[in-house]
């Protein structure tokens, strides 16, 4: 099995290399797409390979051959591999969609030469954040994807994009500073930033200090994941970007934050001290998000609010701190990445046909573009949680896990999530009715929808439907992923086989004093 570890860095290395290549080829707009599509297909293939391989146990690469706690390591366990596979499938679909959009019109939304390198860097950053086995490297992954997202969200530098981008960028930078402070505090306390070593050392430190570290890390990730009350930036900044960009942001960026929360809550802080706080945050995220969505009359903003709201479902699963809760949360993340991206891509098509995303102006699209009506309807029902679609299965899993937990707070959350599902359904049905059935103010002119745009959207919706048909094996897989998260030892021993050093080159341990650095509460003692 160890022969296959060379696959692990590929999802990071291939897009970064191709980003450089596409940047060098900026004068050749015909070659650029070939390079980026090839790169993302390769990433998808290697991610799926990892998905299969990681089922037998985590794959670990000590980058540069330096042993784990000293060097940086990449770890592909079931959770990482699953997130990676879904995200690379989604990125590929969005890239194909944006290529077709670029071919079809030369508006400001069309990909300019900087689009391809940036998009690839974004893919690399996402992959790095998923694979990294080191807290500081997760930070670097975040920064890579944020830098790319800054460029993408202000693409073209128009007025409203600069306005929306300002808020997005300042909030993102502040959360990065918070993350950096958290890392510094973690290092000062434990003397390491390696996740596996932290999992060994954190239980030994003072509980108060540990709680502070947990709060700092959770705050930093909650801003990224758009958890209420740290979510206000999202609905204001996402809708102005070009449709494919919004789609990929909505699908992936918040989920990277959710992934980071899952990782820290399961591996680093398994005690579940903050679960009650997270539960309340989840409830507030669900309700505030969906009430915001109900009040909107712009589809893009409406979907941004549902995005915030459904982050609450994942947080609910995480906060249950049970294997069933984590299983359902991971399944829900997979479902939500595909369905939310698909919806934003469809809205891009709606904007094309109807010339607007305002529900006031749209209307009568069912007559003009019946295919579009179906394309919107299926993921909308999926998000609302209509059986037998994957949204229903994910929510059912969460509700079951909540009832199993049996605490009063869990029951409140169960009720809250049912209410949120119903309101989601209401908001989306209202949007569908208005966009497709309402008598239009001015008769929409028939617009040709390029197959290149409809194709990837339909493919993504098909993937979403596939999650229903493959629900058995997939749910079993997420269950195994969750059980590995519960055990923790699988991850730790894969990275540090002898509990001290990973495989690779490092100074002989006997030279060092093997005592770990002192906990913070003894910090004053001089040697």
């Amino acid at each position: 099995m160890s022969d296959w570890t060379w696959v692990v860095p590929l999802p990071v290395v291939i897009p970064l290399f191709s980003a450089g290549l596409t940047l060098a080829l900026w004068r050749r707009p015909r070659v650029q797409p070939i390079v980026s599509v090839t790169a993302l297909v390769l990433v998808l293939l290697s991610s799926v390979t990892l998905l299969v391989l990681a089922d037998d146990g985590p794959l670990v690469v000590d980058v540069g051959g330096w042993a784990a706690p000293v060097g940086i390591n990449l770890v592909a366990d079931r959770l990482s591999a699953l997130m990676l596979s879904v995200s690379s499938a989604v990125t590929l679909c969005v890239l194909l969609y944006s290529l077709a959009q670029g071919r079809d019109d030369d508006e400001e939304s069309a990909p300019v030469s900087i689009y391809h390198p940036t998009f690839l860097v974004l893919a690399a950053g996402v992959a790095n954040a998923f694979l990294s086995g080191d807290l500081f490297n997760i930070y670097v992954g975040f920064e890579i994807l944020l830098a790319a997202s800054f460029v993408l969200i202000t693409l073209g530098g128009t007025r409203d994009r600069i306005r929306a981008g300002t808020i997005y960028i300042v909030v993102a930078l502040l959360s990065s500073v918070l993350f950096l402070v958290a890392i510094a505090a973690v290092y000062a306390t434990t003397g390491t930033v390696n996740l596996a070593q932290l999992a060994l050392r954190l239980p030994e430190i003072d509980p108060g200090t540990r709680l502070t570290l947990q709060v700092l890390l959770l705050l930093a990730f909650a801003v990224k994941a758009a958890v209420f009350p740290l979510s206000a930036w999202l609905p204001d900044s996402y809708p102005t970007a070009p449709a494919p960009v919004t789609a990929v942001f909505a699908g992936l960026l918040t989920k990277v934050g959710v992934y980071a929360i899952i990782r820290t809550q399961t591996l680093l802080f398994p005690g579940g001290e903050l679960d009650d706080v997270l539960m309340w945050a989840a409830l507030a995220t669900m309700l505030v998000g969906i009430l915001g969505a109900v009040a909107q009359d712009d589809i893009k903003r409406l979907l941004s609010f549902t995005l915030v709201s459904h982050i609450g479902f994942m947080l609910f699963g995480i906060a249950l701190s049970s294997q069933a809760g984590w299983t359902a949360a991971i399944y829900y993340v997979v479902h939500h990445i595909t369905v939310q991206t698909a919806l934003f891509l469809v809205v891009g098509l709606v904007e094309r046909v109807g010339g607007s995303t305002s529900l006031t102006r749209l209307g009568g699209l069912a007559k003009v573009a019946p295919v579009l009506a179906i394309l919107f309807f299926v993921p909308a029902m999926n998000l609302g949680g209509i059986p037998p679609l994957s949204g229903f299965l994910g929510k059912l899993g969460l509700l079951q896990a909540g009832v199993d937990a049996g605490t009063p707070l869990a029951y409140i959350l169960v009720v809250g999530s049912v209410v949120t599902s119903l309101l989601t359904l209401y908001a989306l049905v209202k949007a569908w009715n208005k966009a497709f059935w309402q008598t239009p103010q001015d008769e929409p002119r028939p617009v040709h929808l390029p197959f290149g745009m409809v194709g990837p959207t339909a493919a993504l919706i098909a993937v979403g439907l596939g999650l229903t048909f493959a629900a058995g094996p997939l749910y079993a897989y997420t269950e195994r992923a969750a059980s590995a998260l519960t055990l923790r030892t699988t991850y730790v021993w894969a990275v540090l086989p002898d509990g001290l050093r990973g495989e690779g080159e490092s100074a002989d341990l006997s030279e060092d004093d093997q005592t770990p650095p002192p906990p913070a509460d003894e910090a004053g003692d001089d040697s």
Binding site: E143, A147, T166, V170, S176, V177, Y187, D525
Partner: protein
């Protein structure tokens, strides 16, 4: 044992940087926010130096006694963080300039939605309009261009001559 007693000068410097940074980030002008972000970033970088323990000899194996060395790992992390902050600063600076090019000011504007709801509440209207109510025919993007709160003094936008004209066009 590693000496972890923090250097008081560094701690005071960090506190000052963070305080000034937070104050500046709360400002309206993007250039001040930018300076605030830089100060916060530098505060976080200094925090890493504290995290590394007491300053020591250069960490070069073979030249120095290992017990006298300072911890190289936080310094490596700080270098990475400095480079990242530099890149982000450059981007933010470019964006502040672009904002100035477009608007002749670099103020961070309000959330359009907040302003719209506040305005509707002030004149007691529905939260959204659709075909049943009267359409204003103004999309959020268009409003975003107009939104600059320090110019407006009241919540209710002054009726402009073209508003009436627009309403006439809408009326069947």
């Amino acid at each position: 044992m590693i000496d972890m007693a923090p250097n008081l000068t560094l701690v005071v410097a960090i506190a000052v940087l963070f305080a000034a940074g937070v104050y500046l980030v709360l400002e309206r002008s993007l250039s001040r926010v930018l300076i605030g972000v830089i100060l916060l970033g530098n505060g976080a970088n200094l925090l890493f130096l504290v995290a590394g323990g007491r300053a020591g000899r250069p960490p070069i194996v073979g030249l120095e006694d290992e017990r006298q060395m300072s911890d190289p790992l936080p310094q490596a992390m700080v270098l990475t963080a400095i480079v990242i902050t530099l890149g982000m600063t450059a981007f933010l600076l470019a964006m502040a300039y672009r904002s100035w090019q477009l608007h002749r000011h670099d103020e961070v504007q309000d959330d359009v939605e907040d302003r719209r709801i506040a305005r509707l509440a002030a004149i007691d209207e529905r939260a959204f309009t659709d075909a049943d109510t009267e359409a204003t025919l103004q999309s959020l993007d268009e409003e975003a261009e107009e939104a600059r709160d320090e110019v407006d003094d009241g919540l209710v936008r002054e009726a402009r001559p073209d508003d009436e004209q627009r309403d006439k066009e809408v009326a069947p």
